[in-house]
């Protein structure tokens, strides 16, 4: 499986993501500079976490307007899988590739801790290695992860099975509406999520629950 990670000024979990992709897929992803107008042809494009442009103006807003993102949008439309984690999720909503917005955490503080995620839809390229309803561990680390969408959008997301993950067992760390932790686009090839599966993939991390996400993509590519 081939993948690419887009690097923005201020990205800081690019390194973690590259390492996770390398570890799980066996291939080192291509790192693409945000000024590059064309991404390579890959099976998965990842927008990593961090503070692109310092989170200034709005999280992800400035990065969403970079040249690389124009190509990400084109490729997403053409069906290429796109994963945005944390800041990557924020960039995807700012770029209009996912609906809604990520607001400041309800308690207004940055939060870094482990939460529980329930796999709501496992019939996707990103979640097929998990069981439906399975509860996994996963860390979060963000200041603006409080997902918001207007009632109509929300109803559509829920009805169409586009909520991929929900915070489970009372662990919603940020006030997200409907405990939403990750959502899909209409076609199902774009996933945005706040938690960091790339930080729970080896014994050192104290668990392997995050591997399933990357293994899902491998399975999807092979299928």
């Amino acid at each position: 499986m081939r993948s690419a990670v887009v690097l923005f000024p201020g990205s800081n979990r690019d390194h973690d993501m590259v390492k996770a992709l390398h570890d799980v897929t066996g291939n080192r992803p291509t790192v693409v500079w945000h000024q590059d107008a064309t991404l390579p042809d890959v099976d998965l494009i990842v927008l990593p976490g961090g503070f692109s442009y310092g989170d200034y103006l709005r999280c992800g807003a400035i990065a969403a307007r970079s040249p690389a993102m124009l190509d990400v949008a084109r490729k997403a439309k053409a069906g290429v899988r796109v994963l945005g984690v944390c800041n990557g999720f924020q960039i995807l909503t700012e770029a209009g590739l996912l609906p809604g917005a990520l607001m400041r955490n309800a308690h207004l503080r940055f939060v870094c801790k482990e939460v529980k995620l329930r796999v709501i839809n496992n019939a996707t390229d990103f979640t097929r290695a998990y069981a439906k309803g399975q509860v996994i561990r996963c860390p979060v680390a963000h200041h603006d992860g409080n997902y918001f969408a207007d009632p109509e959008t929300l109803a559509r997301l829920e009805d169409d099975g586009r909520v991929a993950f929900r915070y489970a067992e009372g662990t919603n760390p940020n006030g997200s509406i409907n405990d939403i932790a990750g959502i899909l686009n209409e076609a199902g090839n774009v996933l945005g999520m706040m938690p960091h599966p790339e930080n729970l993939i080896e014994a050192l991390h104290g668990g392997l629950d995050g591997r399933g996400l990357f293994e899902s993509v491998i399975q999807a590519v092979a299928a």
């Binding site: 909503t93 700012e94 607001m103 309800a106 207007d150 509406i177």
Partner: protein, 80 residues
Amino acid sequence: MKVRVTITLKAGVLDPQGKAIEGALRGLGFAGIDGARQGKIVDLALAETDPDKARATVADMCEKLLANTVIENYDIAVLG
């Protein structure tokens, strides 16, 4: 030419910061607060000298970057 863009959240959009401000003000003993909403301003200094043109350019900036029109409204004031 100086232009001030005021960006506010649309009605109905969750405003955690506004809510927290309201709570904090109550906590400080201020009574009679019926609500608080927060927003942003961006003050721009532009080379443009024609107010109408400046306004049009800034509207374009808002649509393209300054505001997230999914959740925000913007208002442009040319300050001269």
